[in-house]
Symmetry: D2
Subunit: 287 residues, 4 copies
């Protein structure tokens, strides 16, 4: 079990101007808040400012509710969008799958090993294939089959389940169904997908087949927030593997699995550690 | 200086059937040809067979002319396409450039250091910018400016230069002009380009700008044989570098240069060592 | 489930001389054996020859017993060491663990997903920690605690278990005990370990602590056959991850896990596909 | 030519305590200094604080001399070690070489292409081999041959040359001589070496031979500051390349060159951009 830090995170974005860091850090200094990690990013083109600040709650003079109130004047002065999160708050994560087990096992095993301050109260699938895997980890498995006729009813059922379980984050772990815009809007920047190519190459169906046909020497995987544009949402993490002419489509699928699961796990970790901000369909992923 | 092996290479492609390797290797055993390296590839989908065989010329009983004649029956029996090349034959390479020096320096420095059994008798450009680099390496530099009016005259001049210098391989080392189909047909699988993205992502102009806009976490470079379809020829080599939200377009350009030059050099090396076969717009790159 | 090929593998090593490939391939051609994959390697320094040949059993005129007998003259002529293995023979694998679950989960999940033609009839540990993981996958878990007094009795018990279960391959998946020379000799080139550093850097205990102290920018993992020299056996596979000054020892441990499990899985895959030969404390890993 | 930013860098290290960032950033806010980039690092074990702050000189109310004076009270309050550097100050770099040209060409070509705000007024060697390369780039080449008898005289001559040319940074670009402790002390954290292995593996002579003998599957290169302990100084940058049993020692040397030159260039870039701090034989490399 990884010990969860007794700390909180402030995420900020606003127009860049002199004095932001000074004002924010003075606020924490005033209230005896030791800064554990501060990373800022100024975007040269948009002239926007982004910051992640993590501070120690031990010895800090305020409660988070106090911070919500007392930080308000600074936020207003600079026109900030901002969020506050305790690192030890456990997120509630739902996993959607179809047939491939590798990403599901990866996520369940990490949660079980205590890598994340998160609970996984349910797995949802349009097929029965992976019920055994979920049950192996004692996680309730909900099969909601999809047919041309019941698409919207199925999604309504899925949404009801998520609501019932107070889900914060939806992870599509090789879920082979298109999610509707309506569903996506309920989880803005809180629905993560893994696509089995280095996007924007090979979006859509059967990317390893496409990669084989094109004869690339490198395959990849991409984890991104889901938006209404298929496979075009903000990219959180990507990685690749070298391949050769010797690799058949089946070899690509097999080698690809190892990248997919690691890339997805890294993206979920970054999200759960409050390291990701989204602007203009791109992510800032603080380290 | 890297010593050039006293050896020759046989490259073969044909329909796959039992007995090919046995027939070919028996031929070399019969004439006392010690096989230094043999690599074969059977493509599961097309049922084609590809082979690269390198054998020692020291102690070998035949001349290459003899091989051309005496191997003919085996080639006919299996319906082979085949080529023979001595490893110590020096290839004649022309380099086309525009403004960016890094790939040109890389190629000239490797040739100068003796890494390749190749001569580079000329550098061609549509601009004057890199004359100094070519002259630094004592390689004649030919500036053939391109305007909307003189495109075909310029290409005719370039083709005449290549003919005059008996060029075997044309390398487009960040040459920022479209080459015509007519020109390309003169150098089938003998014209290598470096494109500054991991194709098929971001073909065409300004790939680093495109990559920045899309917010990818990985950039790449692709070296491929030039075909009439822009940036769509058979890929010889690709590699990538990790980037982050901190990287501006200028940073991508800078980091990309290091991949571009290494990827291009690897592709040229593979070609010059007779390790590349092309089938169906894909390459087999023997190791 | 990955379909297991109806094929067999011949692994050969002997002194290099002309005619080996011709003789071997002629043998298979004679008996209507279509070669699916042939890779050979001639070592320049030792003048040894290594080959892996995989051929189709469908339509092949001989049984494997026939091959054992009829190939004998060729093997003798060239002084070969050789092995024959059917690809569809299921190997029997035992996994040894201590406390860390990630490698164990990785191996069990791959076996369960049908990636390997292998059974895992037991997990052995010197502690109780991972009993739950083994049971989750319905694999019998044997806890054999080690104390200064019972080391040899514990090992005798372990050896008896392996014998009883006809184990072909022993995988030390973060087993934190030294295995005796006597035990190792029972599984020559059939006992695979994962060490959590890029050997030969940081052998022995606490490699991530060592890596942090040294301030490296890259960490790694190494999978190797176990020999009597600690962490010095033939390396099968290695890989690395980039790190920075921001990473604490705990971060290295966390990031290292992802490399360890993938590197170990790749090594086990190579072994189970009969792709590994050992010579002079080094491996030849055919592709 | 890469435009040099009109900015300056403050590098700070001190014992960690609350309020440092607030005090420093308030200083810059007070004088209208827009912060372009701020990265801090708190080391959990040593409880030390490190920071790199880059600010815009355009519109800034003070001169650097003013900063030296007015920042003093803050520095004293926190017991800081600190440095100030303008980004547009051109560093003076000397390169030491022996026989291998690839690193020298890499450094000279980058400087020539305007990648660094640096001049390279001389190349020093113990042999004549690379005179031609230096002359190609119009850089004076000084050959100071080393024999058992003249070691100290040679080093005295080298030191005199460096003094005469006001050298800020010494780069050992495959210089195959041991540098004395006395020489090293003149350039503390200002002498960068490239070692052709992933240290701490394979220090000392002939690392590729050592790597081949050990049978590793990955080779590397390491750039580090030179200290009195051979190949044991603070590591600035490392990278690796995958190899296989097919690679002879000569192949490792060839493949290694591509990593060596890129790793060395990255380390020199980080140093010249004032991104490196050293503590306890480890580096903090700000991004």
């Amino acid at each position: 079990m990884r010990p969860v830090p007794q700390s909180a995170v402030l995420l900020v974005s606003c127009a860049d101007k002199p004095g932001i860091v000074a004002s924010v850090t003075a606020f924490f200094a005033r209230h005896n808040g030791n800064i554990l990690d501060l990373e800022q990013h100024s975007d040269d083109e948009s002239h926007l400012f982004f910051m992640r600040l993590e501070w120690d709650l031990r010895g800090f003079a305020l409660t988070l509710d106090d911070v919500h109130r007392e930080f308000q004047p600074i936020a207003q002065q600079f026109g900030m969008q901002w969020q506050l999160c305790r690192r030890d708050t456990r997120a509630r994560v739902a996993i959607f799958v179809t047939r491939e087990p590798h990403c599901l096992v990866e996520l369940l095993a990490r949660q079980r090993a205590g890598e994340w301050p998160a609970d996984i109260p349910l797995v949802v699938s349009n097929r029965e294939d992976l019920r055994g895997v979920a049950e192996q980890f004692n996680v309730p498995f909900h099969c909601l089959p999809v047919s041309p006729d019941n698409k919207s009813a199925q999604e309504a059922a899925a949404k009801a389940l998520l609501k019932e379980h107070n889900i914060d984050l939806v992870v599509l772990a090789r879920y082979m169904q298109i999610v509707t815009a309506d569903f996506i809007r309920d989880y803005p920047n809180r629905m993560i997908n893994i696509h089995h190519s280095f996007l924007p190459a090979f979006p859509g169906a059967r990317p390893y087949r496409q990669a084989h046909t094109r004869g690339v020497k490198v395959i990849g995987a991409t984890s991104h927030y889901v938006t209404e544009d298929l496979d075009a949402g903000p990219i959180i993490e990507q990685d690749i593997a070298r391949i050769s002419h010797r690799d058949s489509v089946e070899d690509l699928i097999r080698k690809g699995r190892d990248i997919e699961k690691i890339v997805l796990a890294r993206a979920v970790t970054a999200h759960l550690e409050h390291r990701v901000l989204v602007h203009d369909n791109r992510t800032i992923v603080f380290q």
